[in-house]
């Protein structure tokens, strides 16, 4: 495994950087926020991303993708993270889409058919699938779930419960919902938007990422709605979240770099006491520390993405590298954005300046999919101490 980029990967990263610079400036996120946009992101731009092959980059060609890997997808997420692009790659490609893809690899005939129908649509930017696993009380524990399912005569499933902060969950084409039976077995269920007996409510988060509450009141799903084999849903969710977490980390890596970039520009242009503030050693050394944190985060994200491409899902080394990446990115992004606001001074506190948007996203990303302390605990457990 090499952690250096290949020429092809560099090309992908450059193309993504150019696209983001031209089509997805940060001002777009502000406009979507301030206009109270119903969706919170742009379908047209999402379609363009699909045409560039981004949405299916880590999906096999047979399922409508490009058959590359997570190393490449991570590079795209990194670039999108630079300007906080709100399109639903994380929720739909990395969570919903990966749940379908992974289920198809190990599951039933129904899983394969579902993947064959829906993954090409996801890759084409024509469908949004949201993964609903977060609840009021389960925080970062994937194996805890209050939403219940039971089996009716005829094999239908009945789901009851409440999900929160379902990313891009207010208007998807379908949900994938986690639920537990009486025996505490966790499963994931395919729930199309036209299933009855549920309601959604848009949530507004501090970081402008679209989310929703999903309430399930006796939703009735057909017998083939369960993803993967019975009893293995917990494992499936675990694998999905390794991928999603790595994707989020890549996005965070992009965000922390941009926050740092803005801060450096400020240090090189703002004058006080008749000199540029970047000449103050107190600030220089803090900038050097941020630089180091970012380089470490970059290595961890690359290693995690490579591990997704090369290691088996059960290999504890993979889970350790993902935890390493999330812990580093959580701390690195917070450092870059907290320090950024401080070094901007008063203007850093204004809504007009962009640095505050990164501060909010950094915090939201930290508290998604496990914070640094959570992942240190996981690392220790996986290491056997």
């Amino acid at each position: 495994m090499s952690l250096a980029l290949t020429e092809e990967q560099e090309f992908i990263a450059r193309t993504a950087a150019d696209f983001v610079a031209q089509k997805s400036p940060l001002s777009r996120v502000r406009e979507l926020r301030d206009s109270g946009d119903e969706l919170g992101w742009s379908r047209a731009l999402y379609k363009e991303m699909a045409e560039l092959g981004w949405l299916g980059i880590a999906t096999p060609e047979a399922l409508g993708g490009a058959g590359m890997g997570f190393a490449e997808l991570a590079l795209i997420m990194e670039e999108l993270g630079r300007t906080l692009a709100p399109e639903p790659l994380l929720s739909c490609v990395l969570m919903g889409g990966q749940a379908l893809q992974l289920a198809a690899q190990s599951g039933t005939e129904a899983d394969l058919q579902r993947a064959e129908v829906w993954l090409p649509k996801i890759c084409a930017g024509e469908a949004v699938i949201a993964l609903a696993h977060q609840e009021e009380s389960n925080r970062y524990e994937l194996d805890e779930c209050d939403t219940s399912f039971r089996v009716e005569s005829g094999g239908h499933f009945i789901l009851d419960g409440k999900k929160i902060q379902v990313l891009d969950g207010h208007k998807p084409d379908a949900f994938i919902v986690s639920a537990e039976n009486e025996d505490g077995e966790l499963s994931l269920f395919w729930m199309p938007a036209d299933s009855g007996n549920f309601s959604t409510q848009r949530q507004f988060r501090v970081d402008c990422r679209s989310a929703a509450i999903l309430e399930l009141n006796g939703v009735r799903l057909p017998p083939d709605a369960m993803l993967g084999k019975p009893g293995l849903g917990g494992e499936l969710l675990e694998q999905v979240m390794l991928r999603a977490t790595t994707g989020l980390c890549a996005e965070m890596l992009g965000g922390m770099q941009q926050a740092f970039h803005l801060t450096l520009e400020h240090l090189r242009s703002r004058e006080q006491f008749g000199v540029l503030i970047g000449s103050f050693q107190a600030l220089k050394h803090r900038a050097a520390n941020i630089f180091i944190e970012i380089e470490l985060a970059r290595s961890a994200v690359r290693a995690a993405a490579h591990a997704l491409d090369t290691l088996s899902g059960e290999d504890p080394e993979l889970a350790k590298l993902v935890s390493l990446a999330k812990a580093r990115c959580s701390e690195g992004y917070l450092l870059a954005s907290n320090e950024g606001v401080q070094m901007f001074g008063g203007v850093g506190m204004t809504d007009e300046y962009d640095i505050g948007l990164y501060l909010k996203r950094a915090r939201a990303a930290e508290l998604s999919f496990g914070d640094a302390a959570h992942h240190r605990e996981r690392w220790a457990e996986l290491s056997g101490y």
Binding site: S2, L3, A4, T6, L264, L267, R268, V275, L276, G278, S279, Q281, L283, K284, H285, A287, A288, N289, F291, I292, E295, L296, A297, R298, S299, A300, R302, A303, S323, L324, A327, R328, A373, R376, E377, W379, A380, S383, G384, Y385
Partner: protein, 402 residues
């Protein structure tokens, strides 16, 4: 000299077999501290016959300096082969046969800036562990501001006459040669009047007095030059062009420091968790019960891993023919601070057992840990302080104004 396959993967099998056959088994025990390091040189006393045998065999095969050309005593291995070698040594828990400023600092600098005669004179002795080197950069008045150094060398026929004092010269009392920065043009601007000079420590007029450290040992010295006669041919690079050579050597020094203190090279280490299990209550599965300690260990191990991955990324990029990226400027700062944290964590784990200085009630491992901790405080000072490294990052990498 054995011939090895140039394909790295075929080489892996060959070198593993060679290592297993040639490294004496009693050396394969992980240790803390630097008691077991082989420094070489005329005055070096081997701790046991196995070390001596291992050095002789490795040197014969060119494996003390795997990447140097064979004509100078090296192994002539490619970068990829050398990486495999160090991986295999780590896997087999084999200690390096030889460590020192010769291999890591002056050797690579001579390969870069030395003339043919200098290379032939000095490199083979380094590879065989016969000559030990020390570094004469710092002076009482010139530390971080190294270019303000005053030690001077004046021309006299075919020689220079050197006068002045160097300080913090690590192991000058054990060394056979010193590479020193001397002022050859007192009129020129600071950096421009300096030359890089090789001096035999046996030359009349060279004297050393050891300085005792907080760790109790006296690894470094004050080195005095009083009318020391040195051939003019001992200047490396151009006369008055020593600053360039000095900086190149500092780069080698910093990557060496990052290597030994970060991950990669150095002595094979025990995992922090295994160390902790000796001192802390654990359940029957070996899980450490104290969650705070667990968190500290995980924090340290994860930081060390991220650092290791960054070193790897930098090497991978170099192997792919890319320029070393800005990440390499962080290795000295982060690697040394990590090493300090490693020792601090080990002290906290050992608790009161880490308080020994000498005598009964403490194991020899514990005593050397305490001293190694004290020694580690110097890591962020030697080779350019952490503050100076951060200045360099801010200026060269981040383009912040002066």
């Amino acid at each position: 000299m054995p011939q090895f396959n140039s394909d790295p993967e075929a080489f892996r099998g060959e070198i593993r077999e060679w290592l297993q056959q040639n490294c004496p088994a009693p050396l394969l025990v992980p240790r803390i501290g630097d008691l077991q390091i082989v420094w070489g040189g005329a005055k070096f006393v081997f701790k046991n016959p196995h070390q001596k045998e291992w050095l002789a065999r490795a040197a014969e095969a060119g494996l003390t300096a795997p990447e140097w050309p064979r004509e100078f005593g090296g192994g002539g291995l490619s970068r990829a082969q050398a990486k495999v070698l160090s991986q295999e040594m780590r896997n087999l828990k084999i200690p390096p046969p030889l460590i020192g400023f010769g291999l890591t600092m002056i050797g690579p600098t001579l390969l870069q800036y030395g003339n043919e005669a200098q290379k032939l004179q000095h490199l083979p002795g380094i590879c065989q562990g016969q000559v030990r080197w020390c570094q004469g950069y710092s002076e009482p008045g010139a530390g971080s501001d190294l270019a303000s150094l005053q030690c001077r060398a004046e021309v006299s026929g075919n020689d220079y006459i050197v006068n002045g004092a160097k300080i913090w010269t690590s192991n000058a009392d054990e060394a056979d040669w010193i590479f020193a920065l001397v002022r050859t043009d007192p009129q020129a601007k600071k950096q421009e009047g300096i030359s890089f000079l090789l001096v035999d420590m046996e030359t009349p007029g060279v004297s050393v007095s050891p300085i005792k450290l907080i760790s109790g040992s006296s690894p470094f010295c004050e080195t005095h030059f009083e009318n020391v006669r040195v051939p003019r041919s001992n200047v490396v690079g151009k006369v008055n062009g020593g600053w360039t050579v000095a900086k190149a050597l500092l780069n080698h020094e910093r990557s060496m420091i990052a290597d030994t203190f970060g991950v990669g090279g150095g002595l094979p280490r025990r995992s922090m968790a295994d160390f902790a299990r000796e001192y802390l209550p654990c359940d029957e599965d070996g899980m450490i019960e104290d969650p705070v300690m667990c968190d500290r260990i995980a924090q340290f191990e994860m930081d060390a891993r991220a650092f290791g991955l960054t070193l790897q990324r930098s090497r991978d990029a170099a192997r792919a023919g890319q320029q070393p990226g800005p990440e390499s400027s962080m290795f000295k700062v982060y690697g040394t601070e990590l090493n300090q944290r490693r020792h601090e964590l080990m002290l906290r784990i050992a608790g009161p057992q880490a308080l020994g200085w000498q005598g009964p009630g403490f194991s020899s491992e514990e005593l050397s840990l305490t001293r190694a901790w004290l020694r580690s405080r110097g890591n962020s000072i030697e080779g350019g302080t952490s503050e100076v490294q951060r200045n360099v990052i801010a200026k060269r990498v981040l383009a912040l104004p002066d």
